[in-house]
């Protein structure tokens, strides 16, 4: 009974600390905005940002551009995800190939992908193709690396059971490998989605006439700071929500200790 009470008090304290933190941030922000310490344009008042957010969500323009970016990322995830999954399965299943090529993946994986954008523009044009390619290049590496590592981590008993039942290669992949690697693969897809989102949106800020990245850079060009804050707020919420959803689905949420 006492323990339950302690947990309840602790949860309430946590909630209060969070509320207090958010309130302090908002009050400091508004004070800075009204005091003129920084230019009003850099730190606009919360009411201006709120109004900009409302206008943004009410405009058809925003939803159209959100659709453009979402479809680019979705196509990139399908192409890059399938390519990464196939590469990961191949490297995970064959030790020789893994030793031959996995170091390349591990080293190229964390390089800044946006530097390939000028080349991708030449290959795929200035339209959606180069943004999709940017997303593909970004998400391929985490998916491939996580899949290869996940496949090597499969319990050998499961593989022996599959072989003793004389499962075909396709049956081994669909009935043994993929279900056993669910968690690392989903984790790879989560990381892949994060970097594909960044890659696609950064490419849109560099050279595009549609998409959310274009809206951000348009707001910057017009010096419409409340609108820029509103777009960034929406983007951050969408990215964090997508990440949390995938983490929950994988069942490996980073819990509090």
């Amino acid at each position: 009974m006492k323990a339950t009470g302690n947990i309840a008090v602790s949860r309430t304290s946590v909630a209060w600390v969070r509320i207090a933190f958010v309130l302090v941030v908002l009050v400091v922000w508004e004070t800075v905005a009204r005091s003129g310490i920084l230019t009003h344009d850099i730190v606009p008042s919360l009411t201006k940002i709120g109004a900009a957010l409302w206008r943004l969500l009410a405009s058809g323009d925003f939803w159209f551009n959100l659709g453009v970016t979402a479809s680019e990322i979705a196509i990139a995830m399908v192409i890059g995800g399938v390519w990464g999954l196939a590469t990961g399965l191949l490297l995970g299943a064959n030790r020789f190939l893994s030793r031959a090529f996995e170091a390349l993946l591990l080293y190229l994986g964390p390089t800044p992908k946006i530097i390939f954008f000028p080349v991708l523009i030449m290959w795929f044009g200035v339209g959606a193709g180069s943004k999709i390619a940017m997303g593909v290049v970004s998400c391929f590496f985490p998916v491939a690396i996580a899949t290869a590592a996940g496949m090597r981590g499969i319990d050998s008993v499961l593989i022996r059971v599959g072989r003793s039942f004389r499962a075909t290669t396709w049956q081994m992949i669909t009935r043994i490998y993929l279900p056993a690697m669910r968690r690392p693969v989903i984790n790879g897809i989560r990381l892949g989605l994060g970097v594909a989102l960044i890659g696609t949106l950064l490419a849109e800020t560099k050279l595009s006439n549609r998409g959310l990245g274009y809206l951000v850079i348009q707001a910057y060009s017009l010096f419409d700071m409340p609108r820029m804050y509103a777009i960034l707020l929406v983007l951050f919420v969408v990215a964090i929500a997508a990440n949390t959803l995938i983490v929950r689905h994988a069942g490996n949420e980073h819990g509090t200790r």
């Binding site: 170091a103 190229l108 390089t111 800044p112 530097i115 990215a239 509090t256 200790r257």
Partner: protein, 256 residues
């Protein structure tokens, strides 16, 4: 048995991998020279190779490299000065840890680099903008791994400290910090990798600074071999950075 031994041979596999890369380069060279691949889109690899010494000499690559390295150094200093103490703070207060650990994790998933126009407005088109974005991108992993390292300190070590009646300060500097150091280094390495990716990326996007700007300038001049050579140079520099930091990390591991 013999086939199995061949498959297990690390050097043979590495040789095969390197051979495939060389073969792919030769195939591309032939396809470009025979115009199967458009030479106005992909220059012959031999031209790219020849362009490397040219861009090193004419484009002042070493100076640009040092500019990027300096930005990374500043980001690293900020990450150590802010990220590690924040990790310690979260470790010290169970309430703060429960309130903010998941928020820091969520912040790690936020595409901070997209806010670069905001940083541009605040700090101008300068190295400060680039360092600030690198710092913001690398902060979350440093905080989380510092916290992980401190939480992972063996209970028995802390009990020994208590039995020797060590003060909280002594317990922190003589037990907690040395025990968490390998994790702190892992976090710093991760943070620096994120910082480097974002620093080079923003240099490219805002056309300012070191290596990222070089790629942008060469692409805008339509210097194809130069652009590809600069990209190769940046990739090699990144690989060198990962390799060196990974080796340092491996050397630190037995200290645990």
């Amino acid at each position: 048995m013999r086939t199995r031994r061949l498959a297990d041979s690390r050097w043979l596999a590495a040789l095969f991998g390197a051979g495939c890369v060389v073969l792919a380069i030769i195939v591309v060279e032939i396809l470009v020279r025979t115009a199967v691949i458009n030479p106005y889109i992909v220059p012959p690899p031999s031209d790219i190779l020849r362009a490397i010494p040219r861009i090193i000499a004419e484009e002042n690559v070493l100076h640009r490299f040092s500019q990027t390295a300096q930005e990374m150094l500043w980001a690293a200093v900020l990450l150590a000065l802010v990220g590690i103490p924040l990790g310690v703070l979260l470790y010290g207060s169970r309430l703060l840890r429960r309130a903010f650990e998941s928020w820091v994790g969520a912040f790690a998933a936020a595409p901070v680099v997209l806010a670069y126009p905001l940083f541009l407005v605040t700090f101008g088109r300068s190295a400060t903008t680039i360092v600030a974005i690198g710092f913001a991108a690398g902060l979350a992993p440093v905080i989380l791994t510092t916290l992980d390292g401190l939480v992972g300190t063996r209970r028995v070590l802390l009990d020994v400290g208590t039995s020797f009646r060590l003060s909280s300060r002594d317990k922190f500097f003589k037990i907690l910090l040395p025990s968490a150091l390998p994790s702190v280094f892992v976090g710093m390495r991760l943070g620096l990798i994120f910082a480097m990716i974002n620093i080079v990326g923003v240099e490219f996007l805002i056309n300012f600074g070191g290596l990222g700007q070089l790629i942008n300038e060469l692409a805008e001049r339509y210097d194809l071999p130069g652009t590809y050579a600069a990209i190769t140079f940046v990739v090699l520099a990144s690989v060198l950075f990962f390799d060196v930091t990974a080796r340092i990390e491996r050397r630190m591991r037995p200290a645990r």
